[in-house]
Symmetry: C2
Subunit: 347 residues, 2 copies
């Protein structure tokens, strides 16, 4: 009973293979009676259409490729930094692919490699996916975008603050930073520090804008010396915290560019015997497990990464089912503020 093909089903149901194909693909022009007979044969034989043959036959590939940044992924998985943005993306995409009968392939690309265009093109032409999901910072790389466009494969850019080709799915980073800053201001903080994110990501810039906007709206001056560059790494966060915390006029609250940075701030604060939230309020972005289980748990903005990925898949599958054309829409998903014990009114 190995290798059941469409021919076996056709024989068993006493119809042509084309009719079986029609039933499998839910095409309308099949009489209910035949449809039922075919379905019964499919169930009895345990038939599942072969994805390779489907693709070759001129149809869809039922494959979606997610291009992730190699360096980021390495940091994420190899050194266990706990940035699980990519994991959550994958989770959301995978669950949704399952629903549509699709399969998700994760491929790593290295933006700094000289082979970048070649690599992207190679992956696309071996796999010929029905759609591609790009995550930061790939989704803002001109070489990658160009390669995708030339291959004429629909793609969705996730979490990109930049307008451009393909569809977009993201949260409003600026609004999120603004809300977070407002929260601190509402608690009574007047001096709020900000450890900025990596310049490789446009979202970092958007977060900074939100921070500035919130302060401006509250009528508070922006003390430029309270803005310290971070790079999304633990070490960067330590350096930034060491610049901010020993100051006599240190801020009463700090907004960290991401969770890892925040944990670094916590470590430095602990070393300097600065209590959180007693002496210092701390808020951050991303809401990874480390900051939910930390002592104290941190106030964060929860980015709906899985939901974004799910929507990306929906868009791509819909495009593939239709005409392969994808609208260039910009889909904004709502974020969530998780208020936890790390933020409190200043002493």
């Amino acid at each position: 009973m190995r290798n059941v093909t469409i021919v076996h089903v056709a024989e068993k149901a006493r119809v042509s293979v084309k009719t079986v194909s029609r039933v499998v693909n839910n095409e309308p022009t099949v009489t209910p009676e035949l449809r039922e007979r075919v379905q019964a044969a499919i169930d009895q034989l345990g038939y599942a259409p072969n994805i390779a043959a489907r693709r070759l036959g001129g149809g869809r590939s039922f494959l979606i490729v997610a291009f992730n940044d190699r360096k980021l992924t390495l940091e994420n998985w190899a050194s266990d930094r706990g940035n699980n943005w990519i994991d959550r993306m994958q989770y959301g995409a995978m669950l949704r692919c399952d629903v549509h009968g699709y399969h998700l392939l994760c491929e790593l690309i290295d933006l700094e490699s000289g082979q970048l265009a070649r690599r992207v093109q190679h992956v696309l032409s071996t796999l010929r996916p029905d759609g591609v999901i790009l995550t930061p910072p790939n989704c803002e790389d001109p070489t990658v975008l160009e390669a995708l466009k030339r291959a004429q494969i629909p793609f969705v850019r996730m979490g990109s603050a930049q307008a451009g080709p393909g569809a977009r799915v993201r949260m409003d980073d600026q609004a999120a930073a603004r809300r977070l800053t407002e929260h601190l201001v509402e608690l009574g903080h007047r001096r709020v520090g900000f450890v900025t994110g990596s310049a490789r990501f446009l979202a970092s810039r958007a977060r900074e804008d939100g921070y500035r906007a919130a302060l401006a709206a509250a009528g508070l001056p922006v003390d430029e010396t309270l803005l310290v560059p971070g790079d999304f790494t633990f070490e960067g966060g330590v350096a930034a915290a060491e610049a901010l915390l020993p100051r006599p006029d240190r801020p009463t609250a700090i907004l960290a560019g991401n969770d890892e940075t925040a944990l670094a701030v916590m470590h430095v604060a602990r070393r300097l015997d600065i209590a959180i939230p007693g002496d210092l309020s701390l808020a951050t972005f991303d809401d990874t497990p480390s900051v939910r289980l930390s002592l104290p748990p941190l106030t964060t903005v929860r980015q709906p990464v899985a939901e974004m990925a799910a929507q990306a898949v929906d868009l791509l599958v819909a495009a593939a089912a239709k005409d392969g054309k994808l609208s260039r829409a910009d889909n904004l998903l709502p974020f969530e503020l998780a208020l936890r014990a790390s933020t409190a009114p200043p002493r």
Copy 2:
């Protein structure tokens, strides 16, 4: 220049398509001169063989499927529990697939579903992968194993303490638990508690055996009341800690079944004002990011998950390249002890 196929390459190099195929697959019977000409054509056209056609042509699929437990994955990714075992598996497998020109597909299966056998069979027959990687607890499920065997697809079971079909790649859980316990005993601890792992995983049992063996070897009695069942979750860890820590004769050290359990113990200890490592030493398994960045960082056994996955891929690719037969070997990889600030001599 879209959709470059083997025919285009053949025309450009003025050879038959079969010869191009030979060059692409590194078959020996091609003269160096022709090989070079063909390679030049491939490079110039940017040709990449279509995976679907390859599979259909009777060859390999260049696909490896990893079956992960749906529930675990959901906990891992959705609720951000920080169990990144699966992530690290994926990371190791993906990097290695890349080297071999393979692609990794992650599929979720639900052991509790009545459709389990059907689901596995369905995935295998649509994708027809060259090999399958099973992670706990799937790798010990008879239904899954049976379905794999029937499909005659080579598979590797990762991290399984159980003998059985297919190849195995794992670390020695018992030895790891033993080493960790020995470390605590060497520090001078005489009363070592153990929050056991989930009974769904045979490895939990092996860890308990290692714990007992270490105590026995040190001539210490096993106080059964110091063995508390956990289930690998934070809540389970809290319950266990609440059973162990308020006791007047509480242990001076605790071995946690996994990192999440350990974090739970930390939270309870903090609440009860029990200092770590001053009043209580704490050691655990897995070495996820949360416990490296926690305060204090925890002593753990580092499981070589990525390396295990890489080896699994190597085994599967080698089998596919040869005759599709996979040896039933049991490959043990060395673990690593990460000694950190959470363990110290008792007061």
